[in-house]
Symmetry: C2
Subunit: 395 residues, 2 copies
């Protein structure tokens, strides 16, 4: 059973935010038709990490989609797109604001062709921001969204989050919004437009640091490494062969920690009486913990802490989590068989539905792989006409 069976999505997006969003919808069974320029297509096809020369980035973000090519700068190409719009439930685009309008594909334009359409736009700043002309790269969205000012070690420069969160958080909001609009359309018959920006998405995730500023104290927090804003020890610590975390908020956890370190007297130490007081004397406490953990391996430390029921964990690198029993048990890496790359593992969507299971429907499309099929089946074009379009570089 597929939740989004029979939902047709016309996908004009490239690289990360849009494709990440439509991949989620494809996994839920929607038919996603990805439209690419005949010359080269989506920039994500450029292989930076590859299997047999095929970009894993593209493969992962475009699994289970159909791929067609269409030159939207050509009048005929645009006409074909409009015919496909008539047959679609959803259109998703992540051009710079204004580009769709110049193509005659603004929401009011598209609504005339298909009144019930759901029209989702992803951009750096939104369709109506005074800053909408600024470049919409992930680094910029993270820099201006505020998150870099609170990410990184104390004293270090503001640090980009190590993943493209400006893109992916926007993708998640947009996927939520599209399904919400589909539900509403089911109830009311109305389509609508959806406008999601990367800066807004980053801003929406600031939580504690934003609350600290909006609260009575008006505190502008900066970077504080891995530690909790107030509680301690909730931080990263060092053993003799690597790092680990301790994540305790309360005196129960702390007293257990003191016992395993054979330092029961710390519980009476006025620097460490409560969570909040410990938070203010974090450097002193960190040094004490290190004087214990520096003598042990990470494995030894974690064994001791688990026994004593002190919340703690290893810190996995990419290989360790990818090959972990957890990821295996959760089937979070899924094999796909790609015509060029061959059998390849790509990450699954992390939602386990009991009934409408999220399923990777197939490999990503080769450039233009489904052009013929879609033009024939959806629009009834014949071979001769399709050949002419190809000869004229419209597809």
């Amino acid at each position: 059973m597929s939740a989004l069976k029979n939902v047709k999505i016309l996908d004009l997006t490239r690289v990360l935010s849009g494709p990440f969003c439509t991949a989620m919808l494809a996994d839920m069974g929607a038919e996603v038709i990805k439209v690419e320029h005949p010359m080269g297509g989506d920039g994500a096809r450029e292989p930076s990490a590859a299997v047999n020369g095929e970009s894993l980035y593209f493969m992962s973000l475009n699994r289970g989609k159909k791929g067609i090519t269409l030159n939207l700068k050509d009048k005929k190409g645009l006409e074909i797109l409009k015919s496909l719009i008539k047959k679609s439930d959803v259109i998703v685009e992540n051009f710079r604001p204004g580009v769709m309008g110049k193509l005659g594909l603004s929401y009011p334009d598209v609504k005339k062709i298909n009144p019930g359409i759901i029209y989702a736009s992803i951009s750096g700043f939104g369709q109506d921001s005074p800053m909408k002309h600024l470049p919409a790269f992930d680094l910029v969205a993270q820099a201006m969204g505020g998150i870099m000012s609170i990410n990184g070690q104390k004293g270090a420069p503001p640090t980009r989050v190590g993943v493209s969160l400006g893109d992916t958080s926007t993708a998640l909001y947009t996927a939520f919004a599209i399904v919400t609009a589909l539900y509403n359309r089911e109830k009311t018959g109305y389509g609508q437009s959806i406008d999601v920006s990367m800066v807004d998405s980053i801003f929406s995730l600031l939580e504690m640091s934003l609350f600290s500023y909006l609260g009575d104290e008006k505190e502008v927090q900066g970077r504080m490494g891995s530690r909790h804003p107030t509680s301690y020890p909730y931080d990263v610590f060092e053993a003799k062969d690597g790092y680990f975390t301790i994540a305790t908020f309360d005196n129960t956890g702390f007293s257990r920690l003191c016992e395993v370190m054979d330092r029961a007297e710390l519980m009476e130490d006025e620097r460490f009486l409560t969570d909040t007081i410990r938070g203010k004397n974090d450097a002193a406490l960190k040094e004490i913990i290190h004087s214990w953990s520096n003598e042990l391996t990470v494995e030894q430390v974690l064994d001791i802490l688990e026994q004593a029921r002190v919340p703690a964990s290893p810190i996995y690198n990419i290989q360790q989590i990818a090959e972990s029993d957890h990821i295996k048990a959760r089937e979070m890496l899924v094999p796909v068989d790609h015509p060029v790359a061959g059998p390849t593992r790509i990450p699954a969507m992390p939602v386990k539905f009991s009934h409408t299971r999220a399923t990777i429907q197939g490999p990503s499309p080769l450039l233009g792989e489904h052009t013929k099929e879609v033009l024939k089946n959806e629009l009834g074009f014949d071979d001769q006409f399709i050949k002419k379009l190809a000869d004229n570089k419209i597809i």
Copy 2:
């Protein structure tokens, strides 16, 4: 118009992941009934950042919800909950795996009471992971999900992302999943269970670093500060009074940069001929850029780069983004009038719908504010019976 009008959600969640998810659903018009323990309620009520003593964290994450108290360890309390389940479309919980089962509230149990229910569970590792017994704090999910190994400066310790991304990314997936299940139920009549884990959610966001490991090179990337894995200059740089970003991937942007720095000869320098080659000589290029930018203020640098159309940006702290024209224009901080805190600004959901506008429906509930109303209206209890429940500390 509200997209989720008439959708009833029973919310058994606390602190961050669950409440963030149900706040999104409340903004779309769902009726969310938050169930709290009569003694103290959700831990997020503890004010760490506050307005007039009221926790902004709680206010923001629970806006527009109804709040009732119910002691689920009491037989009668549990019975009342089951009566409410009968009248709900969705139930959301973020207890440790197994807790709901012990209460007789596992999905199979609840399905017997309400066959069409959508039952969403959020946890650290998932309902069936071999690691499900481990502590499910955000720090642990980030540490084991792999993201900390790639977040932070080169040479620095693994660094927690400066926001609770383990919680919030899971919230976003769960909100998407719930609405997807609602859509499917509308089409088919079937409910289902949904199981989302924090570690899986973090894992799903690794993109480039995960692809690098899954690709032919099997590269295990580490921390690389703010820079792009391959391209340069896409990084954070220093001016004499602060930091800024340059975000250029190609020779066009680089040649413009060389010109404004009056260093046209760099375009011929064999260390900087292409994006990828520049990426390998990042330290040398960073030094050259700094020798130029160190003489200027951030404002001067950004003026020059904007004129020359080199993608670049300021790095906003929390106050700067919160008070920016962008956030004002996008209405991303919304006033709510809270009975205790008074008029307070909280962050909005970053999706602009043209038809079913996301709207903060009201302030967060005081502890048990709607207990009477809900028990009367939903279950037909009378004042006397409600008083008895209160006297017995069941509500």
